[in-house]
């Protein structure tokens, strides 16, 4: 079964600084990868997804992620964060067929003014 590891539970960063949230997955077959953001007391919003094709995926709010098959990683990056980016970020993976979407434990991004 596939699994997802988000290496950092909390990431504090100053406003306008770059940020990288790390995500590694375990699967020996083709995977589909996702990043979601959850603002306080809200549902999950899809930031971006990798289904196939280009390994660099651009999403909403200036975020991007790179799929690295050899390192089984799908790290999320943003070159300059805003206070409004403070939220919980979840990486998720699924395989084909009826396999469910499996989530990592989340990374709390705190942007400091």
């Amino acid at each position: 079964a596939q699994s997802v590891t988000q290496l950092d539970s909390q990431v504090p960063v100053f406003e306008e600084a770059p940020v990288e949230l790390r995500c590694n997955y375990s699967s020996s077959v083709s995977v589909y990868l996702f990043w979601y953001v959850q603002y306080p007391n809200q549902g999950l919003q899809l930031l971006l997804k990798y289904l196939s094709g280009s390994t660099l995926v651009k999403g909403i709010n200036g975020f991007e992620a790179e799929f690295n098959k050899s390192q089984t990683s799908f790290h999320l990056r943003k070159p300059s964060v805003h206070i409004s980016d403070t939220a919980e970020y979840f990486c998720a993976v699924t395989l084909s067929g009826n396999t469910p979407l499996v989530f990592g434990k989340g990374t709390r991004l705190s942007v400091i003014a």
Partner: protein, 115 residues
């Protein structure tokens, strides 16, 4: 227009009661899900329906019973509520498998508190 909606948003009830959460999506998707988010924010799938047919049923107590009257609705009924059922329950939907079209897209959640 809310794509995936859930009612109620908050639910406070006592142990032993039975309660239901309703979910509706207006995206025209054929697949719907229930996810549970615990107090540590961990998200785990509970059920998945495709065209009203149950396709994923994780190790969930049989006190939880999903019902899909049509493709746009997926309700969750919980019998004999326990303290450990306190969590946020998210409904979600996608068009087919997430690997085909992306998603799923989540509702706002229902915060269930069992006292």
């Amino acid at each position: 227009d809310t794509a995936v909606s859930q009612t109620p948003k908050y639910l406070v009830t006592q142990m032993g009661n039975d309660k239901s959460i309703k979910c509706e999506q207006n995206l025209g998707h054929d697949t719907m899900y229930w996810y549970k988010q615990d107090s540590k924010k961990f998200l785990k799938i509970m059920f998945s329906y495709n065209n009203k047919e149950l396709i994923i049923n994780e190790t969930v107590p049989n006190r939880f019973s999903p019902k899909s009257p049509d493709k746009a609705h997926l309700n969750l009924h919980i019998n004999s509520l326990e303290l450990g059922d306190s969590a946020v329950y998210f409904c979600a939907s996608s068009q087919g498998h997430p690997g085909l079209a992306g998603g799923p897209y989540f509702g706002p959640g229902t915060r269930l508190t069992v006292t």
